[in-house]
Subunit: 248 residues, 2 copies
């Protein structure tokens, strides 16, 4: 039985996200640890204020520039990303354009196939991930498998909701890594070149917005050497610290 959540519910957005992740679990393309990870995100989103703060918007704008100026950008998808922003990921992939590739922590052929199928259902034409012939060094065999025309040969990788190991291994390969992670204290957040501390459901549409702005203006889009990720993370720690001090 599907739970009906009224739009008037004060926690509507949050409950809808939970429902989507939960549906993903039932359909078999979200791993149960994906639910736990989603919960961690919920906690940080609550402290952040459940909206795109200015430091996040700055990071999204930087990410837009990095993606537009990339030669071979790849968007790494997992179960939570597909559940939460499958459709928006397709829009983004067509706009930049960016190659879509399914790449999982708890990998199984079945889950990869289910995720590709789900992405095609919401409009994706090509999704890589089912023929991984290459390997990301510094990741154990199963988790490191990737496609030659996808992550392996990419210059810029967008990897939202990702674990620290994979993020570090991609960096070790010389990739420019953009992540979206609600936990600014995570290893992923600290390792990436650009860390967007925001909910993917807000960050991906906002990324689409900024890419449209940049594409229209035909600006110089070089960002790779100017973005200071550590400085932005420090702003976030200060912001969260203040938020917690005024929440009583």
């Amino acid at each position: 039985m599907k739970t009906i959540i009224p739009k008037s519910h004060p926690r509507y957005e949050s409950l809808i996200m939970r429902e989507r992740i939960s549906e993903g679990l039932k359909k078999g393309f979200v791993h149960e640890t994906g639910l736990i990870a989603h919960g961690r995100g919920e906690a940080f989103d609550y402290i952040i204020g459940e909206k795109t703060q200015s430091f996040s918007d700055d990071a999204i704008q930087a990410a837009a520039k990095a993606l537009v100026s990339a030669k071979h950008p790849v968007f790494s998808l997992n179960g939570n990303v597909v559940s939460l922003v499958g459709k928006e990921s397709v829009q983004l992939s067509q706009l930049i354009p960016i190659v879509l590739e399914v790449n999982l922590f708890h990998k199984s052929d079945q889950r990869v196939q289910l995720l590709i199928k789900e992405m095609k259902k919401v409009g994706a034409e090509h999704v890589l991930g089912s023929h991984p012939t290459m390997h990301i060094p510094n990741l154990d065999h199963n988790r490191g498998l990737c496609e030659e025309k996808g992550i392996f040969s990419s210059d810029v990788v967008l990897v939202p909701l990702e674990d620290g190991d994979r993020c570090q291994a991609l960096k070790d390969m010389g990739k420019y890594v953009i992540t979206i992670d609600l936990n600014p204290l995570s290893r992923t957040a600290k390792t990436a070149d650009i860390t967007i501390v925001d909910n993917v459901t807000r960050a991906i549409p906002r990324l689409i917005y900024w890419i449209n702005q940049i594409k229209d203006k035909n600006d110089d889009v070089s960002v790779l050497d100017t973005w200071d990720n550590n400085k932005n993370l420090k702003k976030i720690y200060t912001f969260l610290s203040k938020r917690l001090n005024h929440m009583d």
Copy 2:
């Protein structure tokens, strides 16, 4: 296939907890939203420092006094509590003694039965919950059902990992409510009479420790009028705020 987690892993305790909750889901006595709730707890536990801080220990000591001096204390169990501290809950129930009752947010007869069975497997003799003839006012029918000899007639209720609605409804009935919740910002945390902001896996053993201390000393154990829960919560907000400011 069961995941083997080496004791040397830096996140061993945290991973074992995840494993237990995940097992509970597979056995059918943890609801999928229990996994999301566990993730929220993980995030706060990380900020708290994954240990029992002094403010938590003060709350645990107050809770020990309230439970020992109670006439008819009841311990309300749900899927996450049974998964994480089933065995320790049995020890606690024999020590005070305290009546055990299964009471769920996503209630189903099957889950109640599975939880009672699980508790008996780890040593519980009596667990209420399968014959709820009474109702907690201010909660919708299914969620409000409870046993006459359990929660309904209790004076002090220990309800760890609980939602705000139930906590408020118990308060409205005049119960003295003790909760264990890693999120000090939750409605539950703000509504309870004593809020223990700690992981149940640390708090329940520590509660057992304090009860043994009190019972041995035969002290005056009255606490109901002296504990200032708001004051303690404010200490926690300040602590978390400082932690976040020094995490970069």
